[in-house]
């Protein structure tokens, strides 16, 4: 991606490690919210989608109840379905492998795969390596966070909140060289930020999908002419 010959392996490992570090704060927050160690691990192993997991424990912590926690994590997970639709034709997997790939279909694995366009084999390699790296680091560090708990303090003191934004920016960076996608990204970031002030967590990212639909319709109309 950014550096010329940076290999897919290095990129996947870096993304896995950077994302995994966020797992520490998830583990700590989850235990603080009142989940026990194994419930926390079940979320990281089975749900395995950072946004949905933070939403689940966030709702529990704020006293919103289990049903509300289930619904918000479900809603936040929709975007993985869109990623899977992008990935399916690229991956072209046998039926038996689809359930495995599905579990690893998250923001990071899709984003690294996207950053390797148009090379299909590098896109596949990026998906698997990143998915596995994030899974391993995310779960190991969730366990550390759950065990260490409150000793870590606020993850934003370590700048981890800024690191997450920078990481996603880096992953879409190669796409931004196309001016149409750059405009789409700026409009989407602005829309999501504005929406985040007025709608519940999880909804803004989903609603930005409509920005993409708008761009898509304009593209179709133009191609017809």
């Amino acid at each position: 991606m950014s550096g010329e010959p940076q290999s897919v392996k290095t990129l996947s490992f870096s993304v896995g490690l950077a994302t995994g570090l966020y797992g520490i704060s998830f583990g700590a927050l989850s235990v603080a919210a009142g989940l026990d160690f194994w419930q926390t691990m079940a979320l990281s192993l089975l749900m395995f989608s950072g946004g949905s997991q933070f939403a689940f424990v966030g709702v529990i912590a704020s006293g919103g109840g289990v049903l509300a926690a289930v619904l918000s994590s479900w809603m936040l997970g929709v975007r993985n379905g869109f990623y899977a639709i992008r990935l399916a034709p690229v991956m072209n997997l046998p039926a038996l492998m689809k359930p495995v790939a599905a579990q690893l279909t998250i923001d990071e694995s899709n984003a690294v795969s996207l950053s390797q366009e148009p090379d299909v084999s590098k896109q596949r390699q990026g998906f698997w390596l990143t998915g596995i790296a994030v899974f391993v680091f995310w779960n190991l560090l969730t366990a550390c966070g759950a065990l260490l708990g409150s000793m870590i303090g606020d993850p934003s003191d370590w700048g981890l909140d800024a690191a997450a934004g920078a990481a996603f920016l880096g992953l879409i960076w190669p796409s931004l060289t196309r001016s149409k996608l750059l405009v789409l990204a700026v409009v989407s970031a602005f829309t999501a930020t504005m929406l985040s002030a007025i709608v519940p967590a999880g909804a803004p990212v989903l609603l930005t999908a409509f920005v993409a639909v708008g761009f898509w319709l304009v593209e179709i109309v133009r191609n017809r002419k």
């Binding site: 639709i85 370590w158 690191a163």
Partner: protein
């Protein structure tokens, strides 16, 4: 609903989205229009995440240490600095700014 039931049901529901996307019939997803939409939606949602992770907080939209950190990250990506170096630099800048401001 018990907490354990909630953890397991929510995990199943989140997985169902992931699996659904992989099982949509190939005939449907190989149409150029659908592939183009899925690619646009991906860029759009990831860009949305960048915005939210940089500006949003429980108190609303804020301009804090994350904003200069992201600006520096953008410059470093432009200069083709390797990914992991940029991410670490962004975290370092944000945590230092929080210390001094």
């Amino acid at each position: 609903m018990s907490l354990w039931a909630g953890v397991l049901i929510a995990s199943g529901l989140v997985y169902s989205w992931k699996l659904f996307g992989h099982l949509v019939p190939e005939r449907f997803v190989t149409s150029p229009a659908v592939r183009s939409l899925a690619a646009l939606v991906t860029v759009s949602m990831l860009a949305g995440l960048v915005g939210i992770q940089t500006f949003s907080s429980p108190e609303g939209i804020v301009f804090d240490a994350r904003v200069p950190a992201l600006a520096v990250a953008a410059i470093l990506f432009y200069l083709r600095v390797p990914f992991i170096v940029v991410v670490i630099a962004a975290a370092a800048i944000a945590s230092l700014l929080k210390l001094f401001i």
